[in-house]
């Protein structure tokens, strides 16, 4: 879930996004939670973007970064990272630096879910499964996949 939130911060269709997304899809994590959190996070990002853009502009204008980032961007292919764009760099920095925070937030969200929502959701899908066979089969498939994966 924390990785999903981080990827939600990073603007899509940049090389940075793909560089994070592909490894995340290959390591053993709860992919459903990862993709779902990323999708949900994208919906909230318009509220955060002005702040992340300002953060990026502030950081990019630090004199200490001028030379090293210039040398980095002189390397072929680095232009596609769009790190000289205050919006991209700000979102990237906020997503990475906030990872521990997103992790803790994820834990809280999971506990709250299990305490208040999990039973209701299961009951709801159980009743739905009884009436719609296809939903029942999908539920079994989901539970089987959870047993296979097992990670948060």
């Amino acid at each position: 879930m924390a990785a999903g939130i981080t990827l939600a911060f990073i603007p899509g269709l940049t090389l940075l996004w793909f560089l994070f997304f592909i490894p995340m899809m290959l390591i053993r994590i709860n992919q459903a939670a990862f993709l779902g959190m990323m999708a949900a996070g994208k919906l909230l990002m318009p509220l955060v973007d002005p702040f992340s853009e300002g953060l990026g502009y502030f950081i990019l204008n630090r004199t200490g970064l001028y030379e090293p980032l210039g040398r980095f961007l002189s390397l072929p292919g680095t232009g596609w990272f769009r790190l000289n764009d205050s919006f991209v760099s700000g979102a990237f920095i906020l997503g990475i630096a906030g990872w521990p925070l997103w992790f803790l937030l994820s834990l809280i969200l999971i506990r709250l879910y299990r305490k208040y929502l999990a039973v209701k959701v299961k009951t709801f899908f159980g009743r739905l499964g009884e009436k719609v066979p296809l939903v029942k089969k999908l539920g079994l498939a989901v539970s089987a996949s959870r047993k296979i994966g097992g990670a948060v």
């Binding site: 603007p11 793909f18 997304f21 592909i22 899809m25 290959l26 053993r28 992919q31 994208k42 990002m45 318009p46 973007d49 002005p50 853009e53 990026g56 502009y57 990019l60 204008n61 001028y66 030379e67 980032l69 210039g70 961007l73 002189s74 072929p76 292919g77 232009g79 596609w80 769009r82 000289n84 764009d85 205050s86 919006f87 991209v88 760099s89 700000g90 047993k147 296979i148 097992g150």
Partner: protein, 645 residues
């Protein structure tokens, strides 16, 4: 209780040994071997344990083995492929059509006309782009493409692509002008063909002067003078004639009285009183005859004076009319100022709106291009609708980059057109050189344009244009012909706060005019210098004409005007003026006739005088006493000299 899907099918020897090698405890190995007995075909199949406890153990063991497996996670890879590879595959199949649509929209935005893009073939691995046809429709005729580029081939610089830049090493192809279209062009919204409104409705001012306008050139004073002179002469003539008639009647009456006197019988010789009375009566008649002779002499003098006055008035009237006519004719001759003003008005009226419109169109398109290309360098962040931001502020770092867009070498050629260029694009600072574009249209246009966006550059755009007698026309009923232009232009910057950003000056020669109605078939060529400046949304066009070049025009226009205005000039002299002069002339002739009448009267008086003289002689001879009598001729002798006898 079901085991993992991957263990439900038969396991090969190698796979079973691998799984068994993963286990360390003997109880686990035994449990695995018991649960997967070897079949006759050498493969191991799952056999459900009879005891429920053993079934749970083997189930947990298999889950543990499944989690500890090495090798790719198929499901995840499939999802990853779906997310990553689908767009890539989609682009591979549809990239060409998508890029063609994007290119078409971009060029339509920039040019404001209908663009046709056909057979776009992007070959990323080859680093090349092929384009079958790129056509720019005509602004004025939707069934014609003004420029068609075919078989375009572009080699892309991969090194620039790695820096997220687009540089074409070489772009070549063939070009053609004014190619008919199969279907009518659909112009983009807001770019409706305005050609009609730009070219129509102009009427070239001419020098033709109507008779009404010319009539004003004949002052009223002339007419008043003519009328006064004629009236005065006529009045005098009437008075004189009336008085003359009266005198004539008196003379006739006198003649009758003399006849009666002469027919009287002579008195007796003794009748002294009778003789005296007769002599006194003869003297009285002689005196009256002498008076009449004097009066006729006065009439003669009056006639001479009035005739002289009438002749003078006639000459004066004729001179006044001639002077007015000369004034009217002089007004038809063209001076330098008039012609200069006329040409300036005509050229500015014709070319001003078109040049201004063309400049505004080019300016708008260049500004659009600049906005498009500078999006990446903008210092303002951008939000797409209500969604996420699309980009932030770009911070500059010391990076050596290629230009954002450049065509290092451009070669487009066709039967009538040739377009060559080097370093065509933007970011001259990064490219290290200015863009130079050379356009040559056979027998029509030759131009070279330099665009230099470097900080040290004096002008953003500069260049020169020369045409070789290109056809021009203002409209169907307006003048046209061939135009030859030698012009230089420069644009400092697109900063709207400055004045006179764009300026151009040069020489224009208009020749081979379509007939201008009032000038006839031979219209001389017209060379002039022009200066055009634009800035702050305003344009200014000034014309400077060399006076020497206007000489042929002055000759042609003057000849034309005199030829065309001959009849007009005749009409300009009011018929009343001629009538007045004729009346005056006939009055003078009438007086000449009346001079004869005076002669008759004089002869009549002379006749009376001679008769009276003879009678007086007879009377003197028959007098009984010596009575001195004067000769009638002594009294009337001078009358003959009055008539030149």
């Amino acid at each position: 209780m079901r085991i993992q899907r991957s263990f439900r099918r038969a396991l090969k020897e190698k796979r079973f040994r691998s799984i068994r090698g993963m286990l360390t405890g003997s109880s686990e190995i035994k449990l695995l071997e018991d649960s997967f007995p070897r079949g006759e075909d050498g493969k191991y199949r799952y056999s459900k344990p009879s005891e429920e406890k053993s079934e749970e153990k083997i189930n947990k063991l298999l889950k543990k083995i499944y989690k500890a497996r090495s090798g790719p996670r198929t499901v995840r890879l499939i999802v990853l492929l779906l997310i990553v590879a689908v767009p890539v595959v989609f682009n591979l199949f549809f990239l060409d059509s998508l890029a063609a649509g994007k290119l078409e929209n971009l060029l339509e935005t920039l040019s404001g006309t209908d663009i046709t893009v056909e057979k776009l073939d992007i070959r990323p691995l080859e680093g090349s782009i092929r384009l079958g046809k790129l056509a720019f429709s005509s602004d004025t005729d939707p069934m014609v493409d003004s420029l068609v580029l075919t078989e375009l081939a572009a080699d892309i610089s991969w090194s620039a692509v790695l820096f997220r830049r687009f540089v074409i090493d070489e772009l070549s192809g063939t070009a053609a002008l004014n190619v008919p279209r199969d279907t009518a062009a659909l112009y983009p919204d807001g770019n409706v063909n305005e050609a009609g409104s730009e070219t129509g409705g102009f009427n070239l001012p001419d020098f033709r002067i109507s008779s009404a306008e010319m009539a004003e050139l004949i002052p009223d004073e002339t007419m008043k003078l003519l009328i006064a002179m004629r009236s005065s002469a006529e009045q005098k003539s009437q008075d004189w004639y009336a008085r003359l008639n009266k005198e004539s009647d008196d003379i006739t009456s006198l003649g009758e009285r003399i006849s009666m006197y002469l027919s009287k019988p002579l008195p007796e010789k003794t009748d002294i009183q009778g003789w005296k009375f007769l002599i006194e009566e003869g003297k009285s008649l002689g005196g009256e005859l002498s008076d009449k002779s004097y009066v006729v002499e006065q009439f003669e003098n009056e006639l001479k004076a009035s005739s002289l006055d009438a002749k003078r008035a006639f000459e004066r009237g004729r001179s006044a009319v001639s002077a007015d006519l000369e004034t009217a004719q002089n007004s038809l001759f063209i001076n330098d100022d008039m012609l200069n003003r006329w040409v300036e008005t005509a050229v500015v009226s014709i070319a001003g709106p078109k040049v201004s419109s063309t400049y505004q169109k080019i300016r708008k398109n260049v500004l659009r291009l600049r906005d498009k290309t500078e999006e990446g360098d903008s210092d303002v962040s951008e939000v797409a609708g209500k969604g996420r931001m699309t980009r932030g502020r770009i911070v500059l770092f010391p990076v050596v980059l290629p230009p954002r867009f450049s065509i290092r070498s451009l070669h487009l050629s066709g039967a009538d057109i040739s377009i060559n260029g080097t370093n065509i694009g933007i970011d001259q600072d990064l490219a290290g050189a200015a863009s130079i574009l050379s356009i040559n249209i056979k027998s029509v246009l030759s131009s070279e344009i330099t665009i230099d966006g470097r900080e040290t550059a004096e002008n953003l755009i500069s260049g020169n244009v020369s045409t070789e007698a290109a056809a021009w026309s203002v409209g169907p009923d307006a003048p046209g012909g061939l135009i030859t232009v030698q012009a230089a232009f420069n644009l400092r910057d697109f900063n709207l706060e400055d004045d006179g950003l764009f300026s151009s000056q040069g020489q224009v020669i208009l020749s081979d005019w379509t007939p201008i109605l009032f000038l006839g078939p031979s219209t001389p060529s017209l060379p002039f210098e022009y200066y055009f400046s634009a800035g702050n949304g305003k344009t200014n066009l000034k014309i400077q004409i060399n006076p020497i070049s206007l000489n042929p025009w002055k000759t042609v226009i003057t000849d034309s005007l005199l030829k065309n205005a001959g009849e007009q000039l005749r009409k300009v002299i009011p018929p009343e003026a001629e009538e007045e002069l004729k009346a005056l002339e006939s009055l003078i002739e009438d007086w000449d006739d009346k001079k004869t009448m005076l002669g008759t009267l004089t002869l009549q008086i002379e006749s009376y005088q001679s008769e009276l003289d003879a009678a007086m002689d007879e009377l003197t001879a028959g007098l009984p006493v010596d009575i001195p009598l004067p000769k009638a001729s002594g009294v009337l002798g001078a009358a003959g000299s009055l008539f030149g006898n």
